[in-house]
Assembly symmetry: C2
Homo-oligomer: 327 residues x 2
């Protein structure tokens, strides 16, 4: 297996991040319910009484802890490993909802959980090792290699065309336009989040990277990408059903992030073909499990609290959550 | 990957076996439909007009070709590789049914197909290599090693207890009794089928194995196990719904076969932990995909022809099909 120390740290961080985020949904929802019971008005209908409920705030804090862990995980392990593991938070929340909130998990939902776990194990076993990075300039030199510049160029052109041409024309009829913009920008923001995370990690290790303009450039990219992403994600959610947007976004975003990481960090160089294929299969299995879990949630749930439960699925796209909270 | 020549042959044979068997269901069903249209009586209601329908016989021949290919596959590749690939015949039949019979495949069914394929790829990549076997005595010596004798002994005792004690008492209320007997016997019959197949392969290569009593002993075991299996499988099907029996039987039978093969042929010796875990995960994924595909078939199908379609799923347990046909 040759699982490096850094990969292990990243793996544990990604895992605990998923546990925290998954648990946070449940805590927040318990808070919402309690607030609704106390005031008689539900959040969905305009009440804000949940802001007085300590449980809701505890959930919020749990979520932030989870997001920070996810951010730090990117500094240690390749995105090919960290990004797909985000799906595990859905399992945690589904299982906890079953036991704590008495939201019955459909039998096929259990199958979805099993698949997510099996797929994650395959991914973890075949995760590539990252070569150690010693300065932000090293990341910079990866970012300006021709192949990655070509990727960035294509993304920028595509997103530009989608915003200028397709969004006004068919953005409100075709779900792929807004979610496409979010996913493409998302792949760039994860890459820059990884750069910023690595710079911070090196800084904490005593190797100050905040002196270099490259660090701040990456911070600027993070901010730009995330704001664009948030903007169009909200548009997508306003226009289409969350149940439609979420799986499409998850699949596109995760796939593009892995593609970007493979190009920029050359994750797959030096790996044998079998490992790469296994990783892709593992990824497909996790995606299928996620879709299955997501679809079967519809089967048994009553329509009340629907918004409150679907929203969390969306929050799984870790890198945007903190900003979403701040904005 | 280190995929040996023999593994490749076994893999191609198992794959074409699944294609033939999967296609045979569709051809037979088309034959049944045509016969029903011609005579006005359906097979399920007692008509035998399908015996005059050439299409039905073509389907039967296709199935026998598939079963022979499956039998030969066991002579070349380890059971750990061949057995789980049997699930692919379900995909072939589901996809063909979608296009040829216009039986709409549920969206989750497509997901099940994708999973079966992804899981199979992981299994194939990590399949162990078999050491070349040069005589039936070699297989005999593997069969009489203490660990495998312990397995056989436990199986015989367990099956005996189930037949004598549990079958009369709760065989008609608990689905696990009859299917358990079938699955345990099934694991032994696959091992002896593999022995007979290997002996035949060596004989065709000019190294006559039919002179040795061991070969005929294994033939005897195949016959005994398969007849027991058939007997209790029919009891299970008479007592319980096929939709309940099939997935349980598939999971138990495949798991026990892999266990028996790992003990007898030491498939996992010399494999690293990562490969073994990947294989198990791949197997779990294939099982989940099979269950998903099987469950969602229920969602959209009308109740007519139900028996006709469920029966085929059962036929997937390759090693018993020929006998089922003969008896």
């Amino acid at each position: 297996m040759g699982f490096s120390q850094d990969n292990l740290k990243g793996f544990v961080l990604a895992l605990s991040s998923s546990a925290f985020i998954g648990a946070s949904f449940i805590i927040k929802k318990k808070g919402l319910r309690r607030a609704a019971a106390a005031s008689g008005v539900r959040a969905g209908v305009g009440g804000f009484s949940y802001l007085l409920e300590p449980l809701w705030w505890l959930g919020m804090i749990t979520m932030i802890v989870g997001e920070v862990a996810n951010f730090v995980a990117y500094a240690f392990a390749p995105a090919v490993l960290v990004t797909p593991l985000g799906a595990l938070s859905i399992i945690v929340s589904a299982v906890l909802a079953h036991f704590i909130l008495n939201e019955k998990l459909h039998q096929l939902g259990i199958l979805g959980c099993v698949m997510c776990i099996a797929g994650s194990i395959v991914i973890v076993i075949h995760a590539p090792q990252e070569r150690p990075i010693t300065s932000v300039q090293e990341i910079w030199s990866m970012a300006i290699q021709p192949a990655f510049l070509l990727y960035v160029g294509s993304v920028v052109v595509l997103v530009f065309i989608m915003i200028v041409h397709f969004a006004p024309q068919c953005g409100h009829s075709n779900v792929l336009v807004f979610t496409g913009i979010c996913s493409f920008m998302g792949s760039l923001s994860v890459m820059s989040v990884k750069a910023v995370g690595t710079a911070l990690k090196l800084t904490f290790e005593g190797n100050n990277q905040l002196l270099y303009p490259e660090t701040w450039f990456f911070v600027l990219i993070v901010a730009t990408c995330v704001i664009t992403q948030m903007n169009y994600l909200n548009k997508a959610l306003d226009t289409f059903n969350t149940a439609v947007v979420s799986p499409i976004y998850y699949v596109m975003f995760t796939s593009l992030t892995i593609l970007a990481s493979v190009i920029m960090f050359k994750d797959w160089d030096g790996q044998n073909v079998g490992s790469i294929i296994s990783e892709i299969c593992g990824f497909i299995v996790v995606l299928s499990g996620t879709i299955l879990l997501h679809t079967t949630r519809d089967f048994e749930r009553s329509s009340s609290f629907r918004g409150a439960m679907f929203r969390p699925f969306l929050f799984d796209f870790h890198q945007i959550i903190l900003i979403n909270f701040v904005l």
